[in-house]
């Protein structure tokens, strides 16, 4: 169990899309400085959980507490300004803006030191600063989405399947960057279907099945669990 001061607490949350219930009584925690992963099959409700932290859609039952403050009913932009940043599924960069403008959108004001750090992490974002973001490759767009989320110096960085649709080499580079981000002290909550990479990076993990938290443990424990190996790691 997590011993650190929690930055995010999700307590008994139910979420529905319209009249379709998706999440049932989800409870989880992310401690300050921790790397927590949530793994689950396609359609389990991972993206719904991340979006519902921002009230998109609002939770039907339960409570979300971020940095000691209940955010369950706050407007989306106010939640974001508290220091919760999302790298969303499908990246959602602003295609008609330049790479630099996309990065600037991530922070309330441009902090040159943060920008430099992000350029160090992903040099391509520096080289292509003036280029329209829509012309970047998928992997580069993923880097841009991560860089954009880091611009606001988030207290908690949420990532929704950053490896989705990327070539293995690009996935390795993204995970390498995540390791560097972690070393610098950022707290991560990483949602993945790519359970192998995610569990090796994470301190702890949760397993989401059909909208319910089915299992919880340290990264190593979950990696060794035969049920997990069978369901998510292609093992036998």
């Amino acid at each position: 169990m997590n011993q650190r001061e929690p930055i995010l607490k999700v307590r008994g949350v139910d979420v529905a899309h319209g009249h379709t219930p998706v999440l049932h009584d989800v409870t989880l925690e992310v401690g300050l400085g921790e790397i927590v992963t949530l793994i689950g099959a396609n359609g389990a409700g991972k993206s719904t959980l991340l979006m519902s932290l921002f009230g998109l859609p609002r939770v039907a039952r339960g409570q979300v507490v971020f940095a000691g403050q209940e955010i369950t009913a706050l407007p989306t932009h106010r939640i974001a300004r508290l220091g919760l940043a999302l790298v969303p599924e499908g990246r959602r960069i602003f295609p008609a803006m330049t790479v630099r403008e996309n990065l600037v959108m991530g922070g309330e004001s441009v902090n040159e030191m943060v920008l430099e750090r992000i350029h160090g992490l992903f040099p391509v974002l520096h080289d292509r600063a003036g280029q329209r973001a829509g012309t970047l490759s998928g992997g580069e767009q993923q880097m841009l989405a991560i860089g954009r989320a880091l611009m606001g110096r988030p207290r908690l960085l949420l990532l929704d399947e950053p490896s989705l649709g990327l070539a293995p080499l690009m996935i390795r580079r993204i995970f390498q960057a995540l390791r560097e981000i972690v070393v610098e002290g950022t707290t991560l909550f990483l949602v993945e279907q790519n359970a192998n990479q995610a569990l090796r990076l994470a301190d702890r993990g949760y397993v989401l099945v059909n909208g319910c938290i089915r299992m919880e443990g340290s990264g190593a424990e979950l990696l060794d669990n035969p049920e997990i190996r069978r369901a998510y790691l292609g093992g036998h």
Binding site: A80, R81, L86, F94, M97, G106
Partner: protein, 307 residues
């Protein structure tokens, strides 16, 4: 073809096109950001004409006489109050319908348009209103006898120069400032903009305020130029400006400016060489043709589909 008539119609066309462009940017920006046609936008232009007369009378009463000072003050005051109308229209008629069907805000827009027309008709009377001319005279080019010249009036010069300055200011605001960047972000992906801390309701209000201010510039300039107006002028001019926005590519800011110019020029040339009575029919036929053959307009992106 008569070169003098052609040049004169080109001059008139650029002036008309500047006016259409100023109003068209309001249609295109609102469409770009919330995906609806603000059918009440023409009425905003009409209200600006009335406000121009009201502020002109007020300044005259206060004894302010110098034309440049009067024009500038009337323009600023009209823009400010018209902007307030734009803001209120969105708050009252569209914001409550933000999460409803696509059709609901359109119906609400038509209702808002009728309310504004009738409000002005009842408050100000149905008859034609007028203001005294502030700017007369002009320059004559290629003078070649008493009937042979191309005339550019001072009022026309004022329209084109003011239009260029306001379009330039708007362009800078959208492309060069943090607020403009937020507007573009909301246009491209409203949910993502909110996830990055942008107050999207505020940005939508900003867009209505900007669109109304630009329509106010058009209303003030046209009123200074023609001197007369009534409660119904927003209808035809509104549809023309909407045509300009569609022609340029709805959602595209440079498209609205270009569409205004193209519509103004072609309408002017049509009036000069074919028939003045049918110039509105010509403009609306152009709208139909664009919608059939190139619905994305001159500068629009065919794939744009707002949800």
């Amino acid at each position: 073809m008569n070169a003098h008539i052609l040049l004169q119609q080109l001059v008139n066309g650029v002036v008309l096109g500047s006016v259409y462009g100023l109003i068209a940017v309001g249609y295109t920006m609102v469409y770009g950001i919330i995906g609806m046609i603000n059918f009440a936008h023409g009425e905003v232009y009409m209200i600006a004409a009335y406000l121009t007369a009201i502020f002109l009378a007020a300044l005259t009463l206060l004894g302010i006489q110098s034309p440049p000072v009067v024009i500038l003050m009337v323009l600023i005051l009209t823009m400010a109050v018209t902007a307030l109308y734009g803001w209120s229209i969105e708050r009252i008629a569209y914001k409550p319908l933000r999460h409803s069907t696509r059709l609901a805000p359109l119906i609400s827009a038509i209702g808002m348009s009728l309310i504004l027309q009738n409000f002005v008709r009842i408050a100000q009377g149905a008859r034609n209103q007028g203001i005294p001319t502030l700017l007369d005279g002009g320059v004559r080019l290629m003078e070649n006898g008493p009937e042979q010249f191309v005339q550019i009036t001072h009022a026309q010069i004022l329209i084109v120069v003011t239009a260029i300055v306001s379009m330039g200011a708007l362009w800078y605001l959208i492309q060069g400032t943090a607020m403009g960047r937020a507007c573009r972000a909301v246009q491209q992906d409203r949910t993502m903009a909110a996830l990055l801390g942008v107050d999207t309701d505020r940005i939508i209000s900003v867009v209505f305020v900007l669109g109304a201010s630009m329509a106010a510039v058009a209303g003030t300039l046209v009123t200074f130029n023609y001197g007369s107006f009534d409660f119904f002028i927003g209808f035809v001019t509104g549809i023309k400006a909407f045509t300009a926005a569609v022609l340029g590519g709805i959602g595209s800011l440079p498209g609205a400016m270009l569409g205004g110019l193209v519509l103004g020029l072609s309408e002017s040339i049509f009036s000069g060489f074919v028939n003045t009575d049918y110039k509105d029919v010509f403009a609306f036929s152009l709208l139909v043709l664009v919608l059939i053959f190139r619905p994305s307009g001159l500068l629009g992106h065919p794939e744009v589909e707002k949800v």
